[in-house]
Symmetry: C2
Subunit: 309 residues, 2 copies
């Protein structure tokens, strides 16, 4: 066991949470929530997503939210985008610190539903993506592998072999095109199919064949193993995690998917393991309590609920 000494946390609640809720909240309500999250000083906040407003009306105010939030210079404010149009729209706001991501998925069915594309089309478009990033003075930072451990649509688990096969194709294309490989891979368990075995096998298989500087985990807690999967990641030395204040979240195109692991529960777990984070846990709980009032229903975060008594 080699726990990291410090982990980097990407706070996803504003994007994951508001996209998954049936209610459409106002831009100001979102801004108020994000400003509270900023007070908890996570390393990064994914504040919104630049996607099609006709399909995800909850995110139609993406630019407005990105512009209005109070920026803390120690925090990286980023956004989700699934195609180059979305990336360029986000960049146009001029106020976000987006990194260059391309979103793949092991499940072609999910990729079609979520991004209206296929892995082969995405792989073919790597040079065009990289050019698009360059036009905005960015490099190709990372790849997200959604549905990395399984998919509700295809109703099956994916193995480390499935993961490795996809990464090989991506890296081969980059090599052929003379493009530097990305430094980060995000293993995104979009629908919560992960287990200790799948998480560990995936990490070990990646390390055995590739040289990613950062392997990060994005874990949804559909089946109650989310925090265990995070712990297994920590055991394997993973030092970058996505998490969502209050456990808010779920994907509008991922049926039956629950929210992400709650940031407050992850931070508390790290504290017990003497693993540092940049987060002020009390401030984070205040943000969770704000979200709970806004939404009008108990959230999944345990630590924030305990602190609310």
């Amino acid at each position: 066991m080699t726990f990291p000494t410090k982990i980097y946390i990407r706070e996803l609640a504003p994007r994951e949470g508001f996209q998954a809720l049936p209610t459409i909240f106002s831009a100001q309500q979102k801004v108020d929530f994000i400003d509270l999250l900023s007070k908890a000083t996570p390393d990064e906040i994914e504040v919104t997503s630049f996607v099609r407003a006709d399909l995800v009306p909850q995110m139609a105010d993406a630019a407005e939210v990105a512009i209005k939030i109070k920026k803390n210079p120690t925090i990286c404010y980023s956004s989700l985008y699934l195609n180059q149009r979305g990336f360029l729209e986000s960049e146009k706001t001029g106020v976000l610190q987006n990194r260059g991501w391309i979103h793949f998925a092991i499940s072609e069915t999910f990729l079609q539903k979520n991004s209206n594309t296929s892995n082969s089309a995405l792989i073919e478009s790597i040079p065009s993506w990289v050019e698009c990033f360059r036009d905005c003075s960015k490099n190709w930072h990372g790849i997200v592998i959604s549905t990395v451990f399984g998919c509700n649509y295809e109703n099956r688990h994916y193995s480390a072999d499935d993961l490795i096969k996809l990464i090989r194709k991506i890296m081969n294309k980059a090599r052929q095109a003379g493009i530097d490989p990305p430094s980060e891979i995000s293993l995104a368990d979009t629908m919560g199919w992960g287990s200790p075995t799948l998480v560990r096998d995936g990490i070990l298989a990646l390390r055995a064949e590739f040289n990613f500087k950062i392997i990060s985990l994005h874990l949804h807690d559909t089946r109650g193993s989310g925090m265990v999967n995070a712990y297994v990641g920590l055991e394997e030395g993973i030092d970058r995690f996505d998490a969502s204040c209050g456990g808010l979240g779920g994907c509008p195109f991922a049926k039956n998917a629950a929210g992400n692991i709650p940031t407050e529960d992850l931070v508390y777990l790290c504290q017990t393991l003497k693993i540092k984070t940049s987060i002020d846990l009390d401030a984070l709980c205040r943000a969770a309590h704000f979200a709970e009032k806004l939404i009008g229903a108990p959230l999944n975060g345990k630590y924030s609920r305990y602190k609310n008594h």
Copy 2:
């Protein structure tokens, strides 16, 4: 890591759940729930508690519930009791398979509030407890150590040292009185102060000094680490767990304590680790859905919630 090949699960939802809820449900509603739980065939079901009806009115129908439930001969039906009067009342029903337990706690404050006694008084009364068990043709099976990792009243963690000191006193008294030591110790994290470190340290310290046949874990999920703590127990080879269908629970005398780890989430985790249980997971989810309807609010169990979609 030495995962067990099979774990024994004590299903606590009828006792933990109904005691913690403000509503008083009818004996028949409880019986219907327990009969559904029986169909999931856990190794043991703690069906009720024999405690003071003036203090815990939710449990006033203990004998009626114990008598009315349909017994599956493969399941051990037991009850909670905190004093000899309660044990004898439970035994009087003639329908339960109680084991001989004495309930200690590291937190004297909790022990006073929950059982109106102290560790020293309990230790003095060991010979009288053993006689009481013998009168009912039972032996002294086990000790429960409540608040084993910390207490909200005393607002602090307890270390493995605190645990070992208490066990030494208990075992010394048994030795002096010529009484066989108990075979099981239940580490009961009544208010969810456990962490991977505390769980592992507790187990290792116990094994280094004592020879309990069974170390079992009773974990509440107050701070979001409940399932991680269970996983750490599995890593250490622990093969007996308390859990509660739907994550129902909480102690009426343990302020701010959340429910137990959800049985369905524990069983699912075990399945991913190829650890066997006696439980039919679909039948268990049906019991959780029944409880959810009865209570009229979403439960904490993630796997059952996923299966409800």
